[in-house]
Symmetry: D2
Subunit: 343 residues, 4 copies
């Protein structure tokens, strides 16, 4: 597949690097308003670079577009790509608001192209193993999931694009929180209600939040619970899944999050505690796996894991949590749909 990359920052480099593992896929053009950044990636792949993304996606060779810009530009670029019949893999959040997301997905369905949301956490080997264990019935019917996720931070974080509301479209809830919401949906399915609290506890980034605590409840009474934080001081990822017959813990994401592990424990009242632990060391393979999933889904004519719809639904949950935090109420997910339809 011939690929256009829009956005030559850290994410762009990661996605481009993932591409290079596949003989059948190649970058054919790179766009970034920072032309030097675009040229650096382009040079490695022997393709042209441009400052103008419109020009890049117009390139007639392009079959798919990787959207790796900050969130405020996702909709414009993805819309234009879809209009030209390109498949799209767009970083999360899919778009800056729900309406734009619905429009994008409607257009894609009409044109017949695939839109995938960048949810690489689903492709982390610990998460994949956890999902496989759940599907095998290792821990029985699921009861609830508990997640803690956060970063240690760095000086000047409040000046990065993530801290600019007009660009980021949200704080930590839209940042790492959105990955958590997508994972909760992947394991527990859809939710009925949401409540949450957001706070701006440390970073001078009001009205954006640096912390979010939330409780989600499914129609079956399953609970999804999480805290996502930009003030964790030491990077943390912990995702705990409880079933009637046991539990699964995924911790670490490699790199500064520490060793990635998947842990399986069975309920066994009369025996000593026993766990099986798998450690995933070395390189982060999630970007390569996610690209492969995108290509396979297109080729098979099926929805990819972490589809555009998944992107929209995760965002709908985020909206519900924001509304709960604003109003001090528990928010029914049905209301979020209603409100949206009204737009």
């Amino acid at each position: 597949m011939n690929v256009c990359l829009v956005g030559a920052g850290l994410q762009g480099r990661r996605r481009a690097g993932a591409l290079s593992h596949f003989a059948d896929d190649r970058l054919v053009v790179v766009a970034d308003i920072n032309l030097t950044a675009a040229q650096e990636i382009a040079a490695q792949f022997g393709c042209p670079a441009t400052e103008r993304w419109e020009k890049a996606i117009d390139n007639p060779d392009v079959e798919a577009v990787l959207v790796c810009t900050p969130p405020h530009l996702h909709a414009d670029i993805a819309d234009a790509a879809v209009e030209r019949g390109r498949h799209v893999l767009c970083e999360k959040p899919l778009t800056h608001n729900l309406e734009a997301g619905r429009n994008l997905l409607a257009a894609a369905r009409e044109v017949g192209v695939t839109v995938k949301c960048g949810f690489n956490y689903r492709h982390h080997p610990g998460i994949r193993r956890a999902h496989q264990w759940v599907e095998e019935g290792q821990i029985g019917e699921l009861m609830h999931v508990r997640c803690r996720h956060g970063i240690g931070g760095r000086p000047g974080y409040e000046k990065e694009w993530r801290a600019q509301p007009e660009i980021s479209s949200g704080g930590q809830l839209m940042d790492q929180g959105l990955h958590v919401l997508d994972l909760l949906r992947w394991f527990l399915g859809d939710f009925d209600s949401a409540s949450g609290v957001v706070s701006t506890s440390f970073w001078p980034i009001d009205p954006l939040e640096d912390n979010v605590f939330a409780l989600l409840q499914s129609t079956k009474g399953q609970v999804g619970s999480f805290h996502a934080s930009w003030t964790q001081w030491k990077n943390l990822f912990s995702f705990e899944i409880f079933g009637r017959d046991g539990y699964i813990i995924v911790e670490g994401l490699g790199g500064r999050y520490g060793t990635e592990r998947a842990i399986l424990g069975k309920r066994a009242f009369l025996e000593p505690f026993r766990e099986e632990i798998i450690e995933f060391l070395g390189e982060d393979s999630s970007w390569v796996d996610e690209w492969q999933e995108f290509v396979s889904a297109i080729s098979a004519g099926r929805e990819p894991l972490g589809s555009g719809d998944d992107g929209l639904e995760a965002q709908r949950l985020a909206e519900a949590i924001y509304e709960s935090a604003r109003t001090g109420t528990v928010v029914r997910m049905a209301e979020i749909v209603a409100t949206d339809s009204a737009v």
Copy 2:
């Protein structure tokens, strides 16, 4: 001090054992409807045993009463003890409902005796160290606290007294959850609002819950967040305190909860992660320390750590969480006061 023990189960044995560390304190009578159990403890301490608690607290030598029965009897016994001018150390929950608690504390104030609620977690060395670190300003102004606590369970748990609503006055929220609520108050002070979800996910104990997830918010916007579970499958205690300058983690409670540790980490963006870890190995010292606190407070004429008021306040938070779970709303703590005053 001459002490009457009412309730000769596991807790009674623990409290009696703690007493034996103090030369100036002694059991003078033990009461339990199971006379054999009462006699066993009494034999070790060379004092009489009885089946009738009324008779035991009437004993004119008695200066203080240890109430270690199931919750439904706390109020009757403690009321009678206070009426006779005895100090009271009563297991949590202080009483089976808020009204009984308020009445007990009002009577104690009138008579001039001390009522302490059994909150031994405050006396675990890891928690004490954490509180000391906070008071020293090691992690600056507190932002939020996150707690996960649960038990692995055992066969027949649904038949124990904890699972009988008329005896226990609540499920896991009133069990380990109440300890967590007391700790949250100790670290963060009073709360403005509470929301929560309870579920009966595994044990056939409806209407009691085996799991509770809750979010509490203080007037200063600090968040207390916890999950308490009777379906944790592997015993867990994790209490994480985040301040603007660092974090503290207390994990383990010894025994089947694993090694008790207090961990201190400072925010330090440009350096590698660094933590100080203290391990508390060996015997659980919390029961001895709590007894000492009770005696010291009486002697000094001051409120003990984990006072009767603390017991009542923790219970008020539990009530708010139950109401939130019932109504699907965020509950203002002021409403809980109002409702109660109306009784």
Copy 3:
């Protein structure tokens, strides 16, 4: 079985406590030169106490003798017990030197009583599980074992009986080192040669050692390697067994050694590292299990696990390591036999 306990210190209390789990076994007399200590244990079991061990083992009801004194008295007491036809469970080291041990075992064979050496480590649940895994072939043919064991120490350690050469008959090699040697033999069988280094690095206890490092080699070329230390500063037990198909790690012994765990990993070159971990929390069950083994072996007329011969062989290995350290040579185990026969 009617049991006489000689030695009412920490070990005596542990062994007596273990006895109380068995309906068919009871203490009938306790002896200690510290009569008060003997009386305390005797009172709990409702039996007489005496200052004179000779008198105690003369008691015609006695069927078995628990020897829990310091090492220098083991031989005298055990010899006298055997002479009177009592079975003997004697703390390690079996006797203060090899000759005394050989004489004791020869006498016991003649009289037809059982002599067992107190090697409770074999009965720790983590070690038992490890041995079971090895016997099941989980890690294939064994290649080598690596052990690190040590204590944190306490003020005045140099004044305890362990630090008195005339009483202890050796330093850390005869203390925790002897347990390690017994375990190495249990897993790897007999050894061909030994080399080692001892040092008196911290405690003023010369000529006793506070540290010993040793390498043992079996006829099959398997290696047993260990370091035992009185200057570990933080209690440690780690026992690592390597087979051609995997490895087993036992770590912790509970209490101040931290959680006891048995870990099983299989060689699997192309997969991520995977381990099965069992945690043994709560009370130390080794004393009860070891007593049961002693009684079962007597009843079945078989050698117990951790027999008198095992005690002697472990001591022969210790002697070889001492000689290696003295002479700066690698010592053949055959020489130790020869030297001994000459005595």
Copy 4:
């Protein structure tokens, strides 16, 4: 500095990558008998490639030579480089035998160029921190060091160059063992005697060993103890340093060795165990730091950390251990010198 790289395998790529962090240093030529491998690196740095190392080091621009070939070629290349007045950074082992090493270092002294041995472990941040703590006196006078190091292995390991005696000049003792020996010397200074056992337990690589256990003793009676293994099944690095006042543990090396940590504990008999833990996450910085040390030493006219002499001394210890294993004796280090001088 203008640098010639000889050897374009994994090590060559690492060393070249480290170079690219320094504005004043650059590759000017790359040599490898595998021309394609040489060209790949050369392309990234915009310099020529050649199959012939002789030609590469003849290049008049070359000021320093990086020797990253297998061991059997080290001496020839390094000798030629020194002869032409180039500084040399040569992977360990410095040369294939002691005589060649002595000749190389003598020649370098004569010519006045710097020879450094590639001992990047000294530059791992955990090891550096440990050395700094020791120099600050955090753990007092050193008593002994204990090291366990090994790899999990991979299919076909026995066919790699490391398993070819004529190329590798030794098994695991010359591989990871040599790094350990260098670290032991860095912390404990020179040794008096050595004993050890080698085995070929799993891999069909006789006469090379896949495991080595060794004990080294310094004139001060300090002990260096280690086990290095090609049959560890799960990658391990653990380096434990004990002083009279505390201990330091370095564990992990990042990547498949898990998180790199430096741990400091102080002797404190009457308090709970307390440790300070620093985690070094993210990229392995040792290659960059080692290059900087090489350049700084040349510029300052001083011996680098991990000098040619250090390389030779580590190899002398390895020889002593091999001899101990062959002869079943404890070997005096003085004998190794004598034997060598005789050559």
